[in-house]
Amino acid sequence: MTRNPPRTRGPSNLLAGLLWTSPWWLGFLLFLAIPMGWSLYISLCDYSLLQPPVFIGGANYQRLASDPVFHQVVRNTLVYSLLSVPLSTIVAVALALLLNQSVRGQAFFRACVFLPTIVPLTAAAVVWMWMLNPQAGIFNQPWHWAGLSPPNWFNSAGSAMAALVIISVWFVGSPTVIFLAGLQEIPEELYEAAMLDGAGPPRRFWHVTLPALSPVVLFNLIIAILTAWQIFALPYILWRGQPGPDGGAYFYTMYLFDNAFRFLKMGYASAMAWIQLLIILLMTALIFLASRRLVHYRGA
């Protein structure tokens, strides 16, 4: 005996569906789609927030193309993301592997790795300011012990970037936890099979762990790129809102913020925001493209 499907009442079902999904689509419209549309429009305007926008076409984008400060912040942010994202990912995977070992005090070590993530950024920045102080900083002790002059972390563009990349590793707690969860999902049989085939730890890591972990690596890479392109608070605190030595600690979002709220050039800042979105989309697309060959989904 076949059962007839329940009769649907088109318009009232649609209404009910819209009503029940309204928290999402209303929020999406009000807090995302409309503001994005508005920001796209004002990116084509001269707009200070305080006076009505004046349409100027693509002038903001043209100016950005010839703005040396814009070029500098793009360069700085790109270099920062190219250095900090792979380094943080490698450190996070390494820490996750260590934390996955069954040792006494495992929970304590896991808490220690995660702890910096919940320390307020301002407090962490002040602590790092002291740790990197050329005279009293604990981070410079190895140089002192070796009888060498430690680098002036805050006083040249290169060392400022190096300092920020080092500090970025401090915040690997979140990706480490995600990698740890990923490691615990890898079936034990895969390791047993590899061991039967005579694979030692390095080969097991290379041929089992890494491929099985690759979807998690992909996820973390994308999140890390998003975070790197939005770096703001850390350099802002360390260099007290200034661009740092030779502008070496001036990043994309800082310049965007300055244009919006210090220079009152909201149109220019909106143009920057759209370019930032495009850059991030492009980088994400490139990673997805590369991931087709490198990421292995179980069962795929």
Binding site: D46, V54, P134, P243, D258
Partner: protein, 444 residues
Amino acid sequence: MNIRSWLLALVLIAPAALLLAFGPRGRVEIPDNRRVIRYWEKWTGVEGRAITDLVDRFNNTVGAQRGLFVEYNAVSNIEQRLLIATAGGDPPDLAGLIDSRVPQYAAQNALLPLDDLVRDAAIDLELLKPIWLELGRYDGKLYALPSTPFTIALYYNRTLFRQAGLDPDRPPQTIAELDQAVERLTRRDEQGKITQLGFTMSPAMLGWWSWVWPNFFDGRLWDGQRYALDSSAGVAAAEWIWQMRERLGRQAALDFEAAAGPIESAENPFLSGRLAMVFQGPWMANWIRNYAPSLDYAVAPFPSSTTGRRHVFASADVFVIPAGAKHPRDAMVFLAWMQRPDVLEELCKRHGKVSPFRTPRSAFFDGHPNPFVRVFDEIASSPDAFGFPGMPMWAQVEAELLNLMQTLLRGNRSPEQAIRYTQQRIDLIVNEYQHMAAKRRGEQ
């Protein structure tokens, strides 16, 4: 639920309930039949207490008589919040800003001109030193009244002066004398590393105002149309900075400056005796009292290149009424009360600032937290006193001038190249602004 669960729930809920019933209130209780004046300020801590005491006094006296009530709110990032509130059509009735922002906001019609309101409120502007009014003017109109003004002067370490064979009672009188003092006050170790620095303009070492130096070479670079960095004063200042760095040794100076500790600590280079002279404001005395109470120091006007001229950088926190404020006339009642010498001087004294009045009351100086307040006060009367350039696009120009300072300190470009490059950047900023302003006027 068992008894343990009930107890646990009680332990968690009881404090929350008590807090709700008896805890602090987010809003001030406003007495009935009072019109509320919303006042936003940036001050917290000691400075916040000083203004809230005065607000309470107003509310209990004049406010009670006139049916007004000032609701004080300390707001972080006040500039951004005021901007957004004004753009959103719901600004406060009164706000505290830094004077450098006044031209920018005034040019955007975000502030109410105060000339008529001041006249109607019978505030006697003649009582104020001219410079403090000048800071609040833009395009011929008054947009701001001073709240806590300050001048910047030369703090110098008398002990280090004595050790260098300099007369601690005779600070440098000209830029040339300052250069000589820097030579003698700078010390190096055997490897040539600087261990004590005479003076630096570096932003890393309390040199907060990178743009001021051409003013001490008799220049006022903004004429209302162009910021003439390439004028003789601009070039002379750049050359001076460049040459001082050459004499100190660029890398040695940079290495020394990299180790500067936080300013509000005993690691402040002037407090720790590593920096002999510094260009700073009256608040420096608070840090000295807290972190280096035995420091033997004095304060003098910063020297100028020309003998006999006394260029003085003056700035102020100011009161403004945002455009769109609901009760501007009520706000003026409070402002008129605040502008009374006894009231405003109490605020300035508690903030460690100078008096804005031509003739401060003697009580103002008695027990003032800065022992050299008379110096700061006196130099504000100089005919050569100057404030931030009245440029609506100043924030952008200032960023370029900070870059120029970094370039000169690091020696990335020669002074001529650096000035040429920065001048081009500033011309572009000014021209773009003027072009858009003209376009807007045309549309109106």
